[in-house]
């Protein structure tokens, strides 16, 4: 087993253990119920800017920010980041995303290459993305607060409110194991207590550009709050809508078994590239 793969397995096991330890029984944060939406609630949505369509990230801008907008890493994190950049340049990328877990927050908004859609409904904004199988953010805009002791998750607990045409989102309780990363292969686990504030808004008169102004506070790995803005471009053509993106599908290939049934069969990897069904399994 390579050192890199061993690190990945160790990371997965640690995440499992933490998942067990943080399961706190069937605690219920509050007894409040969500009231059924009214006509007035739906009418209020019509006054908000239209965030519909498919939003594609500006990947070249992501890549520019890898070098031009470095987070204020702590000295310890900075040392590791510099090593990862050197390894990346040498063709040995660190496997931040190889496990096929959701990249989580804030990576969802920072460096992923796939598109997302943004659904605005009474009391809720929902981001649904493609890739990694479970790229889902629920942002509660019904006035609730964060739970006193929220269960950690990949995307954290998010609450939001509208300031004019800007959606302000506050996110806490992201798994400490989730990477704060500047690319698919350079980053460090946030290590806990991360707090993310976002201002999502259309780019002035350019209604087909969405901007996310992020303020990321991660005291275990950053010396101060890191500010960055990410851009997304809208398409409305139905043929360019979101497609399903189940990441572990990449470990399988379509095949037919001895019963004539269509199955997914593990693939062989050659030089790190999946190249077809593994006939030994």
């Amino acid at each position: 087993m390579s050192h890199r793969f061993a690190r990945l397995v160790t990371s997965c096991v640690c995440m499992t253990v933490v998942g067990i330890l943080t399961a706190r029984g069937a605690e219920i944060a509050s007894d409040k119920i969500s009231a059924p939406p009214t006509l007035r609630d739906y009418e209020a949505l019509a006054k908000l800017p239209d965030f519909g369509g498919t939003w594609t990230p500006d990947v070249p801008d992501q890549e520019r920010q890898e070098t031009q907008n470095m987070p204020p890493w702590t000295p310890k994190a900075d040392q590791r980041i510099k090593h990862m950049i050197a390894e990346d340049d040498a063709g040995r990328p660190f496997p931040i995303i190889d496990h096929c877990f959701p990249t989580g927050m804030p990576s969802y908004m920072l460096f992923t290459h796939n598109a997302f859609e943004l659904l605005v409904t009474p009391g809720r904004v929902t981001l649904l993305g493609e890739g990694d199988g479970n790229r889902l953010r629920r942002i509660y805009t019904d006035g609730r607060a964060h739970p006193a002791d929220p269960d950690p998750s990949f995307h954290g607990h998010s609450i939001g409110h509208w300031e004019g045409g800007t959606l302000v989102v506050d996110t806490v309780a992201v798994f400490p194991q989730v990477y704060l990363a500047i690319s698919e292969s350079v980053g460090v686990p946030n290590n806990g207590d991360m707090h993310i504030v976002e201002h999502l808004h259309l780019d002035g008169a350019n209604v087909n550009t969405l901007l996310d102004d992020l303020e990321i506070t991660a005291p275990k790995v950053l010396t101060k709050t890191w500010k960055t803005t990410r851009r997304y471009y809208r398409t409305r053509q139905q043929k360019f809508g979101i497609v399903e993106g189940v990441c572990p599908q990449g470990y399988f290939s379509e095949a037919v078994d001895k019963n004539g049934d269509a199955i997914f069969k593990p693939v062989q990897f050659r030089n790190g590239i999946p190249v077809g069904p593994d006939s030994s399994k």
Binding site: C12, I20, V59, G91, C100, G245, E254, I273
Partner: protein
């Protein structure tokens, strides 16, 4: 620990064991390829996997010095990104003759990251759009 959380923990462990048995990472950075170097090869398509997180093109290439055709495997991005770049899962079919422009693996083995694929029988060139969508797909 309540039953619900036992189930959640079991599911997490199952995912972990599943991951541990995986032979390599399906979703990875493309830094394994020499992005500043572009090569071109022509050959006949063996398969085109329209699969998340990365699509894979396998094709057979006749060595310049003669001999049996050799298989090359090339990766590109996901079906979602390719769809918005104008590809479909039927864009490339087994038996198609293709010219593939790619960034090679750094160790020189038969693999790479796709820059473009040209279908030699029709002349159609398939590329990947990662930036601002083309003007013709921006809407009013």
């Amino acid at each position: 620990m309540k039953a619900t959380h036992l189930k959640q923990a079991a599911a997490l462990i199952a995912v972990t064991v599943f991951a541990a048995n995986m032979p390599a990472g399906a979703h990875h950075s493309f830094a394994m390829y020499e992005k500043d170097k572009l090569l071109t090869l022509q050959g006949e398509v063996k398969s085109f996997q329209w699969t998340n997180p990365h699509c894979v093109l396998s094709f057979m290439v006749k060595p310049e010095g003669g001999g049996e055709p050799q298989e090359w495997a090339m990766e590109t991005t996901s079906p979602g990104v390719l769809t918005r770049s104008g590809w479909t899962r039927n864009s490339i079919k087994p038996g198609d003759r293709v010219s593939v422009e790619f960034s090679p693996l750094r160790d020189g083995s038969h693999g790479g990251g796709i820059e473009s694929v040209t279908l030699l029988d029709t002349g159609q060139k398939l590329t990947v759009t990662f930036s601002n969508p083309r003007d013709d797909i921006r809407q009013p």
